[in-house]
Symmetry: C2
Subunit: 333 residues, 2 copies
């Protein structure tokens, strides 16, 4: 079925409020999920409403939580999400980081006691609008082994970055550190098809082509041990610096019951004016973009999402009928 | 032949001074190269002395350059390496970043007009000694295409990180973003052996198993397009923020003639005390390390290098006779 963005947002807000989210938490969460859906990222879109609503109802997320800055020094600060949904806490962290990067040149905002933060790059939209460079790091429930290991320890631990341009949309990089998304393995398992070697390990830590065995085991990091090392870096930035829970301490987001995940996020914001200066920064970005676009087949990162979002603004979004029905039911319609 | 570390360092200093490096530049460069050799990283060790000496003689590096902080605001600063060898400029940037992270919680130090900075993680040793978390990013002459592209645009763009522990050596992560080091392709080419698909493209941008064609083409990033996206992030952090040259603007380090590379580096330093606090940080790191070590086959990153360095301190280092002879000749012995 097709939904207009406004209607989708209203349904999402109502569903979250009925599940116990405060108005501000429901609004920022709905905005993020509708934006993801509009950009074609349906795995982080409206399909998450049912999951978040269940977490709110089961106490895995506290709908009445109000995130707050609990510690700061100069450019560094820590936001406590207080076990609410992640979006208001991340928005507060990023807004503070932008202000502090303006004053101190660079800022790092950590978020602790947090929850699933959706599409990592979305949190950086206000950073690019402020003419600043931003990076985002988050951990997630354990899915991948350490280098050389057999058991899931790290999450798929997304990394995102935005780089504003003088003219044109910012460059937006956004990736998780698994070789492939777990969703691809789930599709193969449903269809009874094998998966390529290199995607996953089984429960005993052996490489597998059996999709169901992979779901019971662990996903492999991109690029082998290098990807595992990057996942370790993200885990430490997002959790050790913030005092948050590690991936192996958080129950899966994909089940309704479980603990409060208490995972962490970290946002780095840098004002180019404090280093080479804004003019030099923009000139360097333009030079690189020109060389990239001169190579056939290279597309600027973020361009596809932007095009889909523009189309969705005009045409609305297409979602499965079952998801539409679930949304209306959760919204009390 | 076997050399004691002290003797190796003396030869390196003499060789660099004879090629035109000032005493301080020669000393910090020699320290870094001997440290790399001692840690088993011979591609970034004494074999570089001949290359650096040629660059100094040919004006690709200015031996009389004195690096300086040319701009700063709060936690952010820019160091101009003034086209000298990179090591004194990086040391200055990191020392400033540690001091500023102590004051402002977080610091980002960029380096512009720089040169090859060797083993990225080495610059972070003083960061870990100060009880702080550090990240290092550097670009290098173009070797890898952008996602979907056919021509080398990005360097292999190393990322390093250090995380101090309450007890025990810091966790040290250090990787370049190519699927494999170019040295492996050079070895295959010399032996006339094929390389696996996925390592490199030929000059026309086609996947190749021909090692010589790969050397004339480009290396592939780790993890496919995700690795290319990370290389883009590093290129922009190390060059756009600092006003440095992009990888495609810098001539190869492996030739004696060429331009001043003027590439860039960026160092991020974070004081855990400004976020969750030192006790919480150390406790979280210990919890993660315990789980990693409980999984058979997992080795802490940095442990192998530490063990080799300890052995080298006792036994000296083993280098090819030809390299030893070259070193003595360059040192005027």
């Amino acid at each position: 079925m097709r939904l207009g963005l406004h209607e989708a947002r209203s349904l999402a807000v109502q569903a979250l409020v009925r599940a116990g989210a405060g108005d501000a938490m429901a609004a920022s969460t709905a905005d993020a999920l509708v934006e993801a859906e509009a950009q074609g990222l349906s795995s982080h879109g409206l399909s998450r409403i049912g999951q978040y609503a269940a977490h709110l109802r089961n106490g895995r997320a506290d709908g009445s939580a109000v995130a707050a800055v609990v510690r700061s020094r100069g450019g560094a600060l820590l936001v406590d999400a207080r076990c609410g949904l992640a979006f208001p806490a991340c928005a507060l962290a990023v807004a503070e980081a932008i202000a502090r990067a303006g004053e101190f040149g660079v800022s790092l905002a950590g978020v602790t006691n947090s929850h699933h933060f959706g599409v990592a790059a979305h949190h950086l939209v206000p950073v690019a609008r402020s003419g600043m460079v931003g990076l985002a790091f988050g951990n997630s429930p354990a899915a991948m082994p350490a280098a050389g290991g057999k058991r899931p320890i790290f999450g798929t631990n997304p990394i995102a970055a935005v780089f504003p341009r003088r003219a044109g949309a910012p460059l937006v990089i956004d990736l998780s550190l698994s070789e492939v998304a777990r969703g691809k393995v789930m599709v193969a398992a449903k269809q009874g098809k094998p998966i390529p070697l290199g995607w996953a390990l089984d429960r005993e830590g052996r490489p597998t082509t059996d999709a169901q065995a992979a779901l019971d085991g662990s996903m492999l990091p991109m690029g082998g041990s290098k990807g595992a090392m990057l996942a370790l870096v993200v885990e430490l930035l997002a959790c050790a610096l913030t005092g948050a829970a590690m991936g192996f301490e958080a129950d899966s987001f994909f089940v309704d019951e479980g603990n409060r995940p208490r995972i962490g996020q970290a946002f780095l914001v840098i004002d180019p004016a404090a280093l080479a200066g804004g003019d030099a920064y923009y000139a360097r970005v333009d030079a690189l973009v020109a060389v990239m676009l001169a190579d056939d087949g290279v597309r600027l990162p973020g361009a596809r999402r932007d095009a889909l979002a523009e189309a969705a603004l005009r045409d609305g979004i297409e979602i499965p009928d079952a998801l539409g029905a679930q949304l209306r039911k959760l919204a009390g319609g």
